[in-house]
């Protein structure tokens, strides 16, 4: 039992779980034909069958029950403000399954030359809003209200000690829906994690319909028709948003240190902080020379690397690997698409660099900015 707990603690560490999930992700949601081949070969599409759904939800339920059996973890899970996150976890997985199941069905139909399940003969397609739709809405609203009233009667809204600016709780956490942003603070400075990235998320979401140049395939669940965009969107939604919220809520304890589900939140846990900048890695460790005095020279690799990553890589790919894709999209769309995707990928890249090389900053110009 202790070994099992220890193993679960180890597995839930983002350093382990994130790379595993990230690699698995693209085989479960294949963005390209190559991944799709492996998806079929590994039978990952069976996740979206009723049995697959039962297994997924069963595992989550077991995990939840197991977690609440542990007295320490129960305190965290049953915190009143954390109950919505449990709803979010089950909700996001259930609706993911529901949409992917219908997508899988529809893809099989489309392959067989049939119309999607949503399609209906125009002659007999319409349902009157009064009374059918209004009944559904009324019942939904009543059930929703009943659910909230029951929830409210059983669970009191939290109210802690009166505000005291002199007494900071440890850890101080943002509201749960912003915890993915707070989790980004581990890897990026506030101006990026708290301002630039949220802005890019909003801009990117608004830009999405203008980037997805394929006008077909609207109005029904499908994966094969939109695999690239579904894959990227779900990567952002499931791994960079929901997953980071879960980590931020349940697995981040005092001093924002990582704590496994079966680990006691010890405020005195010592975590070595020996992160180094890219400039130090290159000049001192690699070239065995002191850091140059000129800031531009010192940070040259980081600056050029980032500029190259954002502004040279896309044109190179446009000419080579992504030629067809870029041609379909057009220059403007392709440019914006690549910029937003590469900015989004900066987060997992920085995470992995932090875990493998203890990298602190790619570019560090004190007094100006750090990246």
């Amino acid at each position: 039992m202790e070994t099992l707990k220890h193993l679960l603690n180890l597995l839930s560490d983002p350093r382990i779980s994130f790379p595993i999930l990230m690699i698995l992700f693209f085989f479960i949601f294949p963005p390209t034909a190559w991944f799709e081949k492996w998806n079929k070969r590994l039978h990952f599409d069976r996740l979206w069958t009723p049995v697959g759904g039962l297994v997924m939800h069963g595992l989550m339920l077991v995990a939840l029950v197991a977690a609440t059996l542990d007295p320490n973890f129960r305190l965290i899970v049953t915190k009143p403000d954390n109950v919505p996150i449990v709803i979010l976890i089950f909700g996001s997985v259930y609706f993911l399954w529901l949409s992917m199941r219908q997508a899988r069905d529809n893809d099989q139909r489309l392959e067989a030359g049939e119309k999607p399940d949503e399609y209906c003969d125009p002659k007999r397609r319409d349902i009157l809003v009064w009374p059918d739709v209004l009944y559904i809405e009324l019942i939904a609203m009543i059930l929703c209200m009943a659910f909230i009233i029951i929830w409210s009667l059983y669970l009191q809204a939290p109210l802690e000690q009166p505000a005291n600016p002199a007494l900071a709780p440890n850890p101080a956490k943002a509201p749960w829906y912003f915890l993915a942003l707070q989790e980004m603070l581990v890897y990026f400075d506030p101006w990026l994690a708290g301002v630039v990235f949220p802005t890019l998320i909003i801009v990117g979401l608004i830009a999405l319909p203008y980037l997805d140049s394929d006008r077909a395939g609207s109005g029904f669940y499908s994966f094969s028709r939109r695999k690239l965009f579904i894959s990227l969107f779900c990567f952002g939604w499931l791994l960079l948003w929901v997953y980071l919220i879960i980590v931020g809520t349940f697995l981040r304890g005092p001093n924002w240190n990582f704590f496994g589900p079966f680990e006691v939140w010890d405020a005195h846990k010592v975590v070595p902080m020996n992160n180094v900048n890219l400039s130090e890695l290159i000049w001192i460790k690699l070239l065995h020379r002191p850091l140059p005095n000129s800031i531009l020279l010192r940070e040259a690799v980081g600056i050029l690397g980032l500029l190259g990553y954002l502004f040279v890589l896309p044109p190179l790919l446009e000419k080579s690997a992504l030629k067809r894709f870029a041609g379909q999209m057009g220059r403007m769309r392709y440019g914006l698409f690549m910029f937003l995707s590469l900015m989004g990928l900066l987060l997992p890249i920085k995470m992995i660099l932090r875990w493998t090389l203890s990298l602190k900053y790619l570019v560090s110009i004190p007094g100006w900015f750090n990246i």
Binding site: I87, V133, L153, L159, A163, P190, I206, P209, W368
Partner: protein, 265 residues
């Protein structure tokens, strides 16, 4: 013949055929298809809907009802929020005790619970609504603008929830807002700790300082105190609800104008 005719005027007729009723509702209780269509057209609230919708859109597995539930939760939050405002004063001196009293000494003392849990639920339903719209490809033309309006509504939902988080004025509240508002100080150019803030200066005088940056504008102070509480109260109760209602109106109107609920061609 006379008495018989009088007996047929039952209670339903007395109400539904009365001058009062007919002055309020512009159509009779519908009994046929035409009547059902006219009912929807002639009612201010119902006419958000079209008269009829495609068969697939009635199935729960297609829409998940997330849009309607998010709207419903917004109204639950508005009503409970207004009730809470009767009992709450946004000052450092009173705020915490008012919230404490709410549970203890007001009739129907679960209003704060209903408000808080509905708020959490609204954030989740709005996210899942976006996820559904995405997974059905419904953001594609001609609905691309309305998707953008939806993204703004989602952002506003989170801002509404965030500004409400401070109001109980307990430890949970101010430290969660501390984490959030420190981000404002890091805004490029206009945040004191953000990159480029030194650029905005005239001669030796810096325009961005402790009392003149984005964080100060948000909090009305250099730290979370009286000014921040009042600002967040006004943001939460007036400013953001006003803005979100504007965007909701456009969102609903555009759903209709863009051809109603999405479906396969």
């Amino acid at each position: 013949m006379g008495p018989e005719k009088k007996q047929k005027r039952n209670l339903a007729d007395l109400i539904f055929k009365s001058v009062l009723w007919r002055s309020i509702f512009r159509t009779d209780i519908p009994t046929d298809k035409r009547g059902r269509m006219v009912t929807v057209l002639n009612n201010f609230f119902l006419h958000l809907h079209p008269v009829s919708i495609p068969r697939h859109a009635v199935k729960l597995k297609y829409t998940w009802l997330m849009g309607i539930l998010a709207t419903f939760l917004f109204f639950v939050l508005t009503i409970t929020g207004i009730l809470l405002m009767f009992y709450y004063r946004p000052t450092v001196q009173y705020a915490y005790n008012d919230v404490l009293d709410m549970a203890e000494s007001t009739p129907l003392g679960v209003m704060r619970e209903i408000h808080r849990w509905s708020a959490h639920l609204m954030v989740i339903t709005v996210w899942l609504h976006m996820f559904r719209v995405f997974m059905t490809g419904s953001y594609k033309p001609p609905r691309e603008f309305n998707w953008g309006v939806g993204v703004i509504l989602l952002t506003l939902t989170m801002l509404l929830s965030f500004t409400g988080y401070l109001l109980p004025w307990d430890q949970l509240a101010i430290w969660a807002i501390t984490v959030g508002s420190n981000m404002a100080a890091a805004t490029p150019l206009v945040g004191r700790e953000g990159p480029g803030s030194a650029l905005l200066s005239i001669g030796d005088i810096s325009l961005i300082g402790r009392t003149s940056d984005a964080k100060f504008m948000l909090l009305g102070d250099t730290r979370i105190a009286e000014g921040a509480l009042l600002r967040f109260y006004v943001f939460h109760c007036v400013f953001f609800p006003f803005i979100i209602v504007m965007f909701m109106m456009v969102h609903f109107w555009r759903i209709r104008k863009d051809g109603g609920i999405s479906g396969p061609a």
